[in-house]
Amino acid sequence: MKNFKNLLLIALILFLLLLPTFAGKYLLYMTINILILSVFALGFNLLLGYTGLLSFGQAGFFAMGAYASGKILLVIPSLLLGAIAGMAAGGVSALILGYLCVRHTRIYFSMLTLSFGMMIYSLAWKWRDVTGGDDGLVGIPRAPFEIPGILTINMNPMENYYYFVLVISLIAIFILYRIVNSPFGLTLKGIRDSENRVAFAGISIRNYRLLSFTFAGLYAGLAGSLLPPLENTVTPPLAHWTHSAEPVMVTLLGGIHTFSGPIVGSILFYLIKDIIVRYTQYWLIWFGSIVVFLVLIFRGGVVIFFTERVWPLLKRT
Protein backbone atom coordinates (compact mmCIF):
# COMPACT_ATOMS: atom_id res chain seq x y z
CA MET A 1 0.00 0.00 0.00
CA LYS A 2 2.75 2.42 0.97
CA ASN A 3 4.75 1.79 -2.21
CA PHE A 4 1.61 2.03 -4.26
CA LYS A 5 0.80 5.37 -2.66
CA ASN A 6 4.23 6.83 -3.44
CA LEU A 7 4.07 5.54 -6.99
CA LEU A 8 0.66 7.12 -7.44
CA LEU A 9 1.93 10.42 -6.05
CA ILE A 10 4.96 10.50 -8.37
CA ALA A 11 2.78 9.60 -11.35
CA LEU A 12 0.31 12.34 -10.46
CA ILE A 13 3.01 15.02 -10.13
CA LEU A 14 4.64 13.91 -13.41
CA PHE A 15 1.24 14.05 -15.10
CA LEU A 16 0.64 17.57 -13.75
CA LEU A 17 4.10 18.72 -14.88
CA LEU A 18 3.66 17.32 -18.38
CA LEU A 19 0.03 18.42 -18.74
CA PRO A 20 0.72 21.60 -20.80
CA THR A 21 2.54 19.58 -23.48
CA PHE A 22 -0.66 17.88 -24.60
CA ALA A 23 -3.58 19.68 -22.94
CA GLY A 24 -5.51 22.55 -24.41
CA LYS A 25 -6.27 25.89 -22.78
CA TYR A 26 -9.56 24.69 -21.31
CA LEU A 27 -8.05 21.73 -19.47
CA LEU A 28 -5.31 23.95 -18.05
CA TYR A 29 -7.91 26.47 -16.92
CA MET A 30 -9.86 23.70 -15.22
CA THR A 31 -6.76 22.26 -13.55
CA ILE A 32 -5.85 25.69 -12.19
CA ASN A 33 -9.34 25.92 -10.70
CA ILE A 34 -8.96 22.46 -9.17
CA LEU A 35 -5.61 23.45 -7.63
CA ILE A 36 -7.09 26.65 -6.18
CA LEU A 37 -10.05 24.79 -4.69
CA SER A 38 -7.69 22.09 -3.32
CA VAL A 39 -5.58 24.62 -1.45
CA PHE A 40 -8.75 26.33 -0.18
CA ALA A 41 -10.31 23.07 0.98
CA LEU A 42 -7.10 21.64 2.48
CA GLY A 43 -6.78 24.70 4.70
CA PHE A 44 -10.44 24.35 5.64
CA ASN A 45 -9.95 20.69 6.52
CA LEU A 46 -7.14 21.54 8.94
CA LEU A 47 -10.00 23.11 10.90
CA LEU A 48 -12.74 20.57 10.29
CA GLY A 49 -10.96 17.23 9.96
CA TYR A 50 -8.00 17.84 12.27
CA THR A 51 -9.32 20.33 14.82
CA GLY A 52 -13.03 19.43 14.75
CA LEU A 53 -14.32 22.94 14.02
CA LEU A 54 -16.76 23.62 11.17
CA SER A 55 -16.22 27.08 9.73
CA PHE A 56 -18.92 28.47 7.50
CA GLY A 57 -17.11 31.71 6.76
CA GLN A 58 -14.02 30.58 4.88
CA ALA A 59 -15.19 32.39 1.74
CA GLY A 60 -14.59 35.64 3.65
CA PHE A 61 -10.88 34.87 3.96
CA PHE A 62 -10.76 33.64 0.37
CA ALA A 63 -12.22 36.97 -0.72
CA MET A 64 -9.79 38.87 1.52
CA GLY A 65 -6.95 37.17 -0.35
CA ALA A 66 -8.54 37.78 -3.74
CA TYR A 67 -9.25 41.47 -3.09
CA ALA A 68 -5.80 42.08 -1.55
CA SER A 69 -4.04 40.44 -4.47
CA GLY A 70 -6.27 42.26 -6.96
CA LYS A 71 -5.58 45.61 -5.30
CA ILE A 72 -1.81 45.00 -5.29
CA LEU A 73 -1.73 43.82 -8.92
CA LEU A 74 -3.61 46.92 -10.04
CA VAL A 75 -0.83 49.06 -8.57
CA ILE A 76 2.35 46.95 -8.68
CA PRO A 77 2.42 44.35 -11.45
CA SER A 78 4.18 41.54 -9.61
CA LEU A 79 2.54 38.15 -9.33
CA LEU A 80 4.52 37.00 -6.32
CA LEU A 81 3.73 40.17 -4.41
CA GLY A 82 0.04 39.62 -5.12
CA ALA A 83 0.17 36.09 -3.73
CA ILE A 84 2.06 37.20 -0.63
CA ALA A 85 -0.40 40.04 -0.04
CA GLY A 86 -3.33 37.65 -0.41
CA MET A 87 -1.82 35.19 2.01
CA ALA A 88 -1.09 37.93 4.52
CA ALA A 89 -4.60 39.37 4.21
CA GLY A 90 -6.21 35.98 4.76
CA GLY A 91 -3.87 35.05 7.62
CA VAL A 92 -4.04 38.34 9.50
CA SER A 93 -7.81 38.67 9.23
CA ALA A 94 -8.18 35.05 10.36
CA LEU A 95 -5.89 35.73 13.33
CA ILE A 96 -7.98 38.71 14.42
CA LEU A 97 -11.43 37.23 13.81
CA GLY A 98 -10.25 33.81 15.00
CA TYR A 99 -9.40 35.29 18.37
CA LEU A 100 -13.13 36.05 18.72
CA CYS A 101 -14.34 32.80 17.16
CA VAL A 102 -12.35 30.10 18.93
CA ARG A 103 -13.99 30.80 22.28
CA HIS A 104 -16.85 28.73 20.97
CA THR A 105 -17.11 25.29 19.45
CA ARG A 106 -19.76 23.33 17.56
CA ILE A 107 -22.77 25.20 16.25
CA TYR A 108 -21.92 28.51 17.92
CA PHE A 109 -18.50 28.49 16.25
CA SER A 110 -20.12 27.78 12.88
CA MET A 111 -22.65 30.59 13.32
CA LEU A 112 -19.97 33.04 14.45
CA THR A 113 -17.76 32.30 11.44
CA LEU A 114 -20.84 32.60 9.24
CA SER A 115 -21.57 36.06 10.58
CA PHE A 116 -17.97 37.24 10.13
CA GLY A 117 -17.87 35.85 6.59
CA MET A 118 -21.08 37.69 5.76
CA MET A 119 -19.67 40.91 7.24
CA ILE A 120 -16.78 40.65 4.80
CA TYR A 121 -19.31 39.96 2.04
CA SER A 122 -21.40 43.02 2.87
CA LEU A 123 -18.27 45.18 2.95
CA ALA A 124 -17.16 43.83 -0.43
CA TRP A 125 -20.61 44.50 -1.80
CA LYS A 126 -21.29 47.96 -0.39
CA TRP A 127 -17.95 49.64 0.31
CA ARG A 128 -17.70 50.91 -3.23
CA ASP A 129 -14.65 53.18 -2.81
CA VAL A 130 -12.37 50.32 -1.85
CA THR A 131 -13.90 47.22 -3.38
CA GLY A 132 -15.67 48.57 -6.44
CA GLY A 133 -19.07 47.52 -5.10
CA ASP A 134 -21.07 44.95 -7.04
CA ASP A 135 -18.91 45.53 -10.14
CA GLY A 136 -15.91 44.33 -8.16
CA LEU A 137 -12.34 45.05 -9.19
CA VAL A 138 -11.93 44.85 -12.94
CA GLY A 139 -9.02 44.82 -15.36
CA ILE A 140 -6.59 43.07 -13.05
CA PRO A 141 -3.52 42.20 -15.12
CA ARG A 142 -1.87 38.79 -15.16
CA ALA A 143 1.37 40.41 -14.09
CA PRO A 144 4.74 38.83 -14.87
CA PHE A 145 6.54 36.75 -12.28
CA GLU A 146 9.42 38.92 -11.26
CA ILE A 147 12.38 38.70 -8.97
CA PRO A 148 14.11 42.06 -9.48
CA GLY A 149 17.52 41.77 -11.13
CA ILE A 150 17.34 38.00 -11.50
CA LEU A 151 14.50 36.94 -13.78
CA THR A 152 11.18 37.94 -15.31
CA ILE A 153 8.70 35.44 -16.71
CA ASN A 154 5.81 36.59 -18.84
CA MET A 155 2.62 35.07 -17.45
CA ASN A 156 0.29 35.82 -20.34
CA PRO A 157 0.45 32.31 -21.87
CA MET A 158 -1.86 30.01 -19.92
CA GLU A 159 0.88 27.33 -19.55
CA ASN A 160 3.14 29.74 -17.71
CA TYR A 161 0.45 30.78 -15.28
CA TYR A 162 -0.48 27.12 -14.85
CA TYR A 163 3.09 26.32 -13.79
CA PHE A 164 3.07 29.22 -11.36
CA VAL A 165 -0.13 28.01 -9.69
CA LEU A 166 1.09 24.40 -9.75
CA VAL A 167 4.40 25.18 -8.02
CA ILE A 168 2.77 27.41 -5.39
CA SER A 169 0.04 24.81 -4.71
CA LEU A 170 2.49 21.91 -4.44
CA ILE A 171 4.64 23.84 -1.99
CA ALA A 172 1.56 24.81 0.03
CA ILE A 173 0.27 21.23 0.07
CA PHE A 174 3.67 19.85 1.08
CA ILE A 175 3.97 22.34 3.95
CA LEU A 176 0.47 21.49 5.15
CA TYR A 177 1.33 17.79 5.00
CA ARG A 178 4.31 18.44 7.24
CA ILE A 179 2.14 20.52 9.58
CA VAL A 180 -0.51 17.86 10.12
CA ASN A 181 2.15 15.22 10.75
CA SER A 182 4.11 17.39 13.17
CA PRO A 183 3.56 17.42 16.95
CA PHE A 184 1.37 20.46 16.31
CA GLY A 185 -0.89 18.45 14.01
CA LEU A 186 -1.07 15.60 16.50
CA THR A 187 -2.07 18.02 19.24
CA LEU A 188 -4.86 19.32 17.04
CA LYS A 189 -6.14 15.78 16.52
CA GLY A 190 -5.94 15.28 20.26
CA ILE A 191 -8.09 18.36 20.81
CA ARG A 192 -10.58 17.07 18.26
CA ASP A 193 -10.88 13.68 19.93
CA SER A 194 -10.65 14.55 23.57
CA GLU A 195 -10.53 18.16 24.55
CA ASN A 196 -10.24 17.54 28.29
CA ARG A 197 -7.29 15.18 28.12
CA VAL A 198 -5.29 17.64 26.07
CA ALA A 199 -6.18 20.41 28.50
CA PHE A 200 -5.04 18.23 31.41
CA ALA A 201 -1.70 17.81 29.67
CA GLY A 202 -1.22 21.53 30.18
CA ILE A 203 -1.80 22.61 26.61
CA SER A 204 -3.67 25.81 25.82
CA ILE A 205 -6.52 24.57 23.65
CA ARG A 206 -7.60 28.01 22.61
CA ASN A 207 -4.16 28.95 21.29
CA TYR A 208 -3.94 25.78 19.25
CA ARG A 209 -7.39 26.35 17.81
CA LEU A 210 -6.49 29.94 17.00
CA LEU A 211 -3.31 28.82 15.23
CA SER A 212 -5.25 26.25 13.24
CA PHE A 213 -7.84 28.89 12.33
CA THR A 214 -5.08 31.26 11.23
CA PHE A 215 -3.51 28.60 9.00
CA ALA A 216 -6.90 27.86 7.46
CA GLY A 217 -7.42 31.58 6.77
CA LEU A 218 -3.90 31.87 5.35
CA TYR A 219 -4.55 29.01 2.94
CA ALA A 220 -7.92 30.47 1.97
CA GLY A 221 -6.22 33.81 1.33
CA LEU A 222 -3.50 32.15 -0.76
CA ALA A 223 -6.10 30.28 -2.81
CA GLY A 224 -8.05 33.51 -3.27
CA SER A 225 -4.96 35.41 -4.39
CA LEU A 226 -4.43 32.98 -7.28
CA LEU A 227 -7.84 33.72 -8.76
CA PRO A 228 -7.68 37.41 -9.87
CA PRO A 229 -4.79 36.94 -12.36
CA LEU A 230 -6.75 34.07 -13.90
CA GLU A 231 -10.14 35.78 -14.18
CA ASN A 232 -8.93 39.42 -14.33
CA THR A 233 -11.78 40.37 -11.98
CA VAL A 234 -12.78 39.99 -8.33
CA THR A 235 -16.46 40.20 -7.37
CA PRO A 236 -18.40 40.09 -4.06
CA PRO A 237 -20.00 36.62 -4.53
CA LEU A 238 -16.56 35.18 -3.72
CA ALA A 239 -17.23 36.14 -0.10
CA HIS A 240 -20.85 34.92 0.02
CA TRP A 241 -21.77 32.09 2.38
CA THR A 242 -22.78 29.85 -0.53
CA HIS A 243 -19.12 29.98 -1.59
CA SER A 244 -18.15 28.95 1.96
CA ALA A 245 -20.16 25.78 1.39
CA GLU A 246 -17.85 24.78 -1.47
CA PRO A 247 -14.87 23.65 0.64
CA VAL A 248 -17.30 21.94 3.03
CA MET A 249 -18.83 19.96 0.16
CA VAL A 250 -15.61 18.90 -1.52
CA THR A 251 -14.03 17.98 1.80
CA LEU A 252 -16.95 15.77 2.75
CA LEU A 253 -16.96 14.36 -0.79
CA GLY A 254 -13.32 13.31 -0.52
CA GLY A 255 -13.42 12.47 3.17
CA ILE A 256 -12.55 14.55 6.22
CA HIS A 257 -10.31 12.07 7.97
CA THR A 258 -7.72 11.70 5.24
CA PHE A 259 -5.15 14.25 4.16
CA SER A 260 -5.87 13.82 0.45
CA GLY A 261 -9.67 13.96 0.88
CA PRO A 262 -10.10 17.65 -0.04
CA ILE A 263 -7.88 17.25 -3.11
CA VAL A 264 -9.80 14.22 -4.38
CA GLY A 265 -13.05 16.06 -3.61
CA SER A 266 -11.94 19.11 -5.60
CA ILE A 267 -11.02 16.98 -8.60
CA LEU A 268 -14.38 15.19 -8.45
CA PHE A 269 -16.25 18.48 -8.03
CA TYR A 270 -14.93 19.90 -11.30
CA LEU A 271 -15.06 16.55 -13.06
CA ILE A 272 -18.71 15.98 -12.14
CA LYS A 273 -19.59 19.53 -13.13
CA ASP A 274 -17.78 19.20 -16.45
CA ILE A 275 -19.52 15.95 -17.32
CA ILE A 276 -23.02 17.02 -16.29
CA VAL A 277 -23.02 20.42 -18.01
CA ARG A 278 -22.47 18.64 -21.33
CA TYR A 279 -25.95 17.22 -21.01
CA THR A 280 -27.90 19.81 -19.06
CA GLN A 281 -27.47 23.36 -17.82
CA TYR A 282 -29.18 22.35 -14.59
CA TRP A 283 -26.14 20.58 -13.21
CA LEU A 284 -26.78 21.65 -9.61
CA ILE A 285 -29.77 19.28 -9.33
CA TRP A 286 -27.44 16.40 -10.00
CA PHE A 287 -24.63 17.72 -7.88
CA GLY A 288 -27.05 18.38 -5.03
CA SER A 289 -28.36 14.82 -5.36
CA ILE A 290 -24.82 13.45 -5.24
CA VAL A 291 -24.19 15.43 -2.06
CA VAL A 292 -27.40 14.12 -0.47
CA PHE A 293 -26.61 10.55 -1.54
CA LEU A 294 -23.10 10.89 -0.14
CA VAL A 295 -24.26 12.02 3.28
CA LEU A 296 -26.84 9.23 3.46
CA ILE A 297 -24.82 6.34 2.02
CA PHE A 298 -21.07 6.70 2.46
CA ARG A 299 -20.18 9.31 4.93
CA GLY A 300 -16.48 8.49 5.11
CA GLY A 301 -15.87 10.01 1.69
CA VAL A 302 -14.43 8.69 -1.53
CA VAL A 303 -10.85 8.21 -0.29
CA ILE A 304 -11.84 5.99 2.64
CA PHE A 305 -14.27 4.15 0.38
CA PHE A 306 -11.39 3.34 -1.94
CA THR A 307 -8.74 2.46 0.65
CA GLU A 308 -11.00 0.39 2.90
CA ARG A 309 -13.46 -1.21 0.50
CA VAL A 310 -12.05 -1.29 -3.03
CA TRP A 311 -8.33 -1.71 -2.29
CA PRO A 312 -8.65 -4.85 -0.06
CA LEU A 313 -10.91 -6.35 -2.71
CA LEU A 314 -8.32 -5.74 -5.42
CA LYS A 315 -5.53 -7.14 -3.25
CA ARG A 316 -7.40 -10.38 -2.63
CA THR A 317 -7.97 -11.14 -6.29
Partner: protein
Protein backbone atom coordinates in the same frame (compact mmCIF):
# COMPACT_ATOMS: atom_id res chain seq x y z
CA UNK B 1 -38.53 63.77 12.19
CA UNK B 2 -40.24 61.62 14.81
CA UNK B 3 -43.04 60.87 12.36
CA UNK B 4 -40.53 59.85 9.73
CA UNK B 5 -38.89 57.45 12.16
CA UNK B 6 -42.21 55.98 13.28
CA UNK B 7 -43.25 55.52 9.67
CA UNK B 8 -39.97 53.78 8.87
CA UNK B 9 -40.49 51.62 11.93
CA UNK B 10 -43.87 50.55 10.56
CA UNK B 11 -42.24 49.57 7.26
CA UNK B 12 -39.66 47.61 9.23
CA UNK B 13 -42.44 45.93 11.19
CA UNK B 14 -44.09 44.62 8.03
CA UNK B 15 -40.74 43.28 6.80
CA UNK B 16 -40.24 41.65 10.20
CA UNK B 17 -43.34 39.55 9.66
CA UNK B 18 -41.98 37.72 6.61
CA UNK B 19 -38.83 37.06 8.59
CA UNK B 20 -40.87 35.86 11.56
CA UNK B 21 -42.89 33.42 9.45
CA UNK B 22 -39.66 32.00 8.06
CA UNK B 23 -37.68 31.98 11.29
CA UNK B 24 -40.49 30.46 13.38
CA UNK B 25 -40.37 27.24 11.35
CA UNK B 26 -36.58 27.15 11.33
CA UNK B 27 -36.32 27.51 15.07
CA UNK B 28 -39.19 25.08 15.69
CA UNK B 29 -37.48 22.38 13.63
CA UNK B 30 -34.18 23.03 15.37
CA UNK B 31 -35.76 23.01 18.80
CA UNK B 32 -37.75 19.80 18.32
CA UNK B 33 -35.88 17.77 15.68
CA UNK B 34 -32.40 19.09 16.44
CA UNK B 35 -31.66 19.74 12.78
CA UNK B 36 -30.54 23.11 11.46
CA UNK B 37 -32.31 23.13 8.11
CA UNK B 38 -30.49 25.18 5.47
CA UNK B 39 -33.20 24.27 2.95
CA UNK B 40 -35.89 26.04 4.98
CA UNK B 41 -35.46 29.17 2.83
CA UNK B 42 -36.06 27.03 -0.25
CA UNK B 43 -39.46 26.05 1.17
CA UNK B 44 -40.18 29.77 1.50
CA UNK B 45 -39.21 30.15 -2.16
CA UNK B 46 -41.41 27.21 -3.19
CA UNK B 47 -44.34 28.78 -1.36
CA UNK B 48 -43.82 31.99 -3.30
CA UNK B 49 -43.61 30.17 -6.65
CA UNK B 50 -46.63 28.01 -5.89
CA UNK B 51 -48.74 31.05 -5.00
CA UNK B 52 -47.50 32.84 -8.07
CA UNK B 53 -48.64 29.90 -10.19
CA UNK B 54 -52.02 29.32 -8.55
CA UNK B 55 -52.88 32.99 -8.22
CA UNK B 56 -51.02 34.82 -10.99
CA UNK B 57 -51.07 32.13 -13.68
CA UNK B 58 -54.07 29.86 -13.07
CA UNK B 59 -56.27 32.62 -11.72
CA UNK B 60 -57.52 31.00 -8.53
CA UNK B 61 -58.93 33.10 -5.71
CA UNK B 62 -56.14 34.66 -3.59
CA UNK B 63 -57.04 32.77 -0.42
CA UNK B 64 -57.52 29.48 -2.27
CA UNK B 65 -54.11 29.96 -3.89
CA UNK B 66 -52.46 30.42 -0.52
CA UNK B 67 -54.23 27.32 0.80
CA UNK B 68 -53.15 25.24 -2.19
CA UNK B 69 -49.56 26.48 -1.85
CA UNK B 70 -49.46 25.52 1.80
CA UNK B 71 -50.73 22.05 0.99
CA UNK B 72 -48.25 21.51 -1.85
CA UNK B 73 -45.25 22.76 0.12
CA UNK B 74 -46.47 20.72 3.09
CA UNK B 75 -46.32 17.63 0.87
CA UNK B 76 -42.77 18.51 -0.21
CA UNK B 77 -41.91 18.91 3.45
CA UNK B 78 -43.40 15.53 4.30
CA UNK B 79 -41.30 13.79 1.64
CA UNK B 80 -38.20 15.70 2.70
CA UNK B 81 -38.61 14.71 6.33
CA UNK B 82 -39.73 11.13 5.82
CA UNK B 83 -36.97 10.10 3.41
CA UNK B 84 -34.03 12.41 4.15
CA UNK B 85 -34.11 14.57 7.27
CA UNK B 86 -35.19 11.62 9.42
CA UNK B 87 -31.91 9.86 8.64
CA UNK B 88 -29.71 12.70 9.82
CA UNK B 89 -31.11 13.43 13.31
CA UNK B 90 -28.12 11.85 15.00
CA UNK B 91 -25.40 12.91 12.60
CA UNK B 92 -22.78 15.58 13.26
CA UNK B 93 -23.52 19.19 12.35
CA UNK B 94 -21.42 19.28 9.13
CA UNK B 95 -23.40 16.41 7.64
CA UNK B 96 -26.75 17.96 8.58
CA UNK B 97 -25.80 21.30 7.09
CA UNK B 98 -24.40 19.81 3.91
CA UNK B 99 -27.34 17.49 3.29
CA UNK B 100 -29.79 20.35 3.63
CA UNK B 101 -27.47 22.54 1.56
CA UNK B 102 -27.67 19.88 -1.16
CA UNK B 103 -31.42 20.46 -1.19
CA UNK B 104 -30.90 24.19 -1.67
CA UNK B 105 -28.99 23.39 -4.86
CA UNK B 106 -31.66 20.94 -5.99
CA UNK B 107 -34.63 23.25 -5.30
CA UNK B 108 -32.94 26.29 -6.85
CA UNK B 109 -32.31 24.49 -10.10
CA UNK B 110 -35.71 22.77 -10.13
CA UNK B 111 -37.34 26.17 -9.84
CA UNK B 112 -35.22 27.49 -12.70
CA UNK B 113 -36.21 24.48 -14.77
CA UNK B 114 -39.93 24.85 -14.07
CA UNK B 115 -40.35 28.64 -14.05
CA UNK B 116 -37.23 29.98 -15.78
CA UNK B 117 -34.51 32.11 -14.24
CA UNK B 118 -36.17 35.52 -14.50
CA UNK B 119 -37.70 37.43 -11.62
CA UNK B 120 -41.49 37.79 -11.69
CA UNK B 121 -43.98 40.08 -9.98
CA UNK B 122 -47.52 38.68 -9.72
CA UNK B 123 -50.57 40.97 -9.50
CA UNK B 124 -51.86 42.39 -6.20
CA UNK B 125 -55.30 41.19 -5.02
CA UNK B 126 -57.74 44.01 -5.74
CA UNK B 127 -59.09 44.32 -2.20
CA UNK B 128 -55.59 45.07 -0.90
CA UNK B 129 -54.78 47.74 -3.43
CA UNK B 130 -54.31 51.30 -2.35
CA UNK B 131 -52.68 53.15 0.49
CA UNK B 132 -53.60 54.38 3.88
CA UNK B 133 -52.40 57.75 5.10
CA UNK B 134 -50.14 57.19 8.09
CA UNK B 135 -48.39 60.25 9.52
CA UNK B 136 -49.26 61.98 6.29
CA UNK B 137 -47.41 59.40 4.21
CA UNK B 138 -48.92 56.70 2.00
CA UNK B 139 -48.68 53.29 3.63
CA UNK B 140 -49.81 50.26 1.59
CA UNK B 141 -52.89 48.54 3.00
CA UNK B 142 -51.29 45.22 2.13
CA UNK B 143 -48.47 45.86 4.61
CA UNK B 144 -51.02 46.36 7.38
CA UNK B 145 -52.51 43.01 6.45
CA UNK B 146 -49.03 41.42 6.65
CA UNK B 147 -48.47 42.86 10.11
CA UNK B 148 -51.83 41.54 11.28
CA UNK B 149 -51.13 38.13 9.74
CA UNK B 150 -47.72 37.91 11.45
CA UNK B 151 -49.13 38.72 14.86
CA UNK B 152 -52.03 36.36 14.18
CA UNK B 153 -49.66 33.49 13.43
CA UNK B 154 -47.66 34.27 16.56
CA UNK B 155 -50.79 34.07 18.72
CA UNK B 156 -52.01 30.90 17.04
CA UNK B 157 -48.61 29.26 17.45
CA UNK B 158 -48.53 30.21 21.10
CA UNK B 159 -52.03 28.83 21.62
CA UNK B 160 -51.18 25.59 19.84
CA UNK B 161 -48.01 25.03 21.84
CA UNK B 162 -49.46 25.99 25.20
CA UNK B 163 -53.06 24.82 25.02
CA UNK B 164 -53.32 21.77 22.79
CA UNK B 165 -52.39 18.16 23.32
CA UNK B 166 -50.25 18.25 20.18
CA UNK B 167 -48.38 21.29 21.53
CA UNK B 168 -47.74 19.53 24.80
CA UNK B 169 -46.32 16.53 22.96
CA UNK B 170 -44.05 18.83 20.97
CA UNK B 171 -42.78 20.55 24.09
CA UNK B 172 -42.26 17.23 25.82
CA UNK B 173 -40.20 15.73 23.03
CA UNK B 174 -38.24 18.94 22.58
CA UNK B 175 -37.05 18.83 26.15
CA UNK B 176 -36.44 15.08 26.39
CA UNK B 177 -36.87 12.91 23.31
CA UNK B 178 -36.25 9.55 25.01
CA UNK B 179 -38.53 10.23 27.93
CA UNK B 180 -41.29 11.42 25.60
CA UNK B 181 -40.89 8.27 23.57
CA UNK B 182 -41.01 6.16 26.74
CA UNK B 183 -44.36 7.57 27.80
CA UNK B 184 -45.85 6.60 24.48
CA UNK B 185 -45.45 9.56 22.15
CA UNK B 186 -44.91 8.38 18.60
CA UNK B 187 -41.77 10.38 17.91
CA UNK B 188 -41.35 9.69 14.15
CA UNK B 189 -44.91 10.77 13.36
CA UNK B 190 -44.71 13.77 15.66
CA UNK B 191 -41.47 14.88 14.02
CA UNK B 192 -42.92 14.55 10.53
CA UNK B 193 -45.94 16.64 11.48
CA UNK B 194 -43.74 19.29 13.10
CA UNK B 195 -41.57 19.46 9.99
CA UNK B 196 -44.59 19.71 7.70
CA UNK B 197 -46.05 22.41 9.93
CA UNK B 198 -42.77 24.35 9.79
CA UNK B 199 -42.63 23.95 6.01
CA UNK B 200 -46.14 25.39 5.81
CA UNK B 201 -45.11 28.38 7.93
CA UNK B 202 -42.24 29.05 5.54
CA UNK B 203 -44.58 28.62 2.57
CA UNK B 204 -47.02 31.06 4.16
CA UNK B 205 -44.23 33.63 4.41
CA UNK B 206 -43.37 33.11 0.76
CA UNK B 207 -47.03 33.13 -0.28
CA UNK B 208 -47.86 36.35 1.55
CA UNK B 209 -44.74 37.93 0.11
CA UNK B 210 -45.60 37.27 -3.52
CA UNK B 211 -47.81 40.31 -4.24
CA UNK B 212 -45.17 42.77 -3.06
CA UNK B 213 -41.77 41.12 -3.38
CA UNK B 214 -40.21 39.70 -6.53
CA UNK B 215 -40.32 35.96 -7.05
CA UNK B 216 -36.89 34.82 -8.21
CA UNK B 217 -34.71 31.71 -7.83
CA UNK B 218 -32.29 33.32 -5.34
CA UNK B 219 -34.82 34.42 -2.70
CA UNK B 220 -34.41 31.23 -0.67
CA UNK B 221 -30.70 31.69 -0.02
CA UNK B 222 -31.16 35.40 0.63
CA UNK B 223 -33.91 34.81 3.19
CA UNK B 224 -32.45 31.82 5.01
CA UNK B 225 -29.40 33.73 6.10
CA UNK B 226 -31.59 36.42 7.67
CA UNK B 227 -33.56 33.67 9.39
CA UNK B 228 -30.29 32.29 10.78
CA UNK B 229 -29.43 35.70 12.18
CA UNK B 230 -32.86 35.88 13.83
CA UNK B 231 -32.76 32.43 15.37
CA UNK B 232 -29.27 33.05 16.71
CA UNK B 233 -30.25 36.40 18.23
CA UNK B 234 -33.37 34.96 19.83
CA UNK B 235 -31.74 31.70 20.87
CA UNK B 236 -31.67 28.56 18.73
CA UNK B 237 -34.92 26.67 19.15
CA UNK B 238 -36.69 29.47 20.97
CA UNK B 239 -39.96 30.70 19.41
CA UNK B 240 -40.43 33.79 21.55
CA UNK B 241 -36.83 34.66 20.78
CA UNK B 242 -37.45 34.22 17.07
CA UNK B 243 -40.36 36.68 17.21
CA UNK B 244 -38.30 39.31 19.02
CA UNK B 245 -35.31 38.56 16.79
CA UNK B 246 -37.45 39.09 13.69
CA UNK B 247 -38.64 42.43 15.05
CA UNK B 248 -35.05 43.47 15.78
CA UNK B 249 -33.71 42.46 12.37
CA UNK B 250 -36.68 43.83 10.40
CA UNK B 251 -36.74 47.20 12.11
CA UNK B 252 -32.94 47.46 12.12
CA UNK B 253 -32.95 46.82 8.38
CA UNK B 254 -35.58 49.52 7.80
CA UNK B 255 -33.65 52.09 9.83
CA UNK B 256 -30.34 50.92 8.40
CA UNK B 257 -31.58 51.65 4.89
CA UNK B 258 -32.67 55.10 6.03
CA UNK B 259 -29.68 56.09 8.17
CA UNK B 260 -26.64 54.20 6.86
CA UNK B 261 -27.62 52.78 3.47
CA UNK B 262 -24.11 51.43 2.89
CA UNK B 263 -23.75 49.35 6.03
CA UNK B 264 -27.30 48.12 6.56
CA UNK B 265 -26.42 44.45 5.95
CA UNK B 266 -23.15 44.77 7.84
CA UNK B 267 -24.87 46.00 11.01
CA UNK B 268 -27.18 42.99 11.14
CA UNK B 269 -24.26 40.59 11.13
CA UNK B 270 -22.49 42.68 13.75
CA UNK B 271 -25.54 42.25 15.98
CA UNK B 272 -25.48 38.51 15.33
CA UNK B 273 -21.76 38.25 16.16
CA UNK B 274 -22.09 40.38 19.31
CA UNK B 275 -24.96 38.24 20.59
CA UNK B 276 -22.97 35.08 19.88
CA UNK B 277 -19.92 36.40 21.70
CA UNK B 278 -21.70 37.84 24.71
CA UNK B 279 -24.62 35.45 25.12
CA UNK B 280 -24.24 32.54 22.70
CA UNK B 281 -27.48 30.90 23.85
CA UNK B 282 -29.36 33.96 22.55
CA UNK B 283 -31.36 36.73 24.19
CA UNK B 284 -34.06 34.30 25.33
CA UNK B 285 -31.94 31.20 25.81
CA UNK B 286 -31.82 29.31 29.07
Amino acid sequence: MLEKLLFQGLIGLSFSMYLWLLASGLTLVFGVLGVLNFAHGSLFMLGAYATFTFYGKLGFNFWVSIGLSLISVGCVGAVLERFFIRRIYDLDLPYQLILTFGFILIFDDLVKMAWGGVAMIPPMPRFFEGNLSVFGRPFPIYNLFIIAAGFGVAIILWLILEMTWWGRMIRASASDREMASAIGINIPILFTTVFVFAAMLAALGGALGTPVRVVAPGIGTAMIIQAFVITVIGGLGNLKGAFVGALIVGILTAFGILLFPVFELFIIFVVMAVVLMVKPEGLFGK
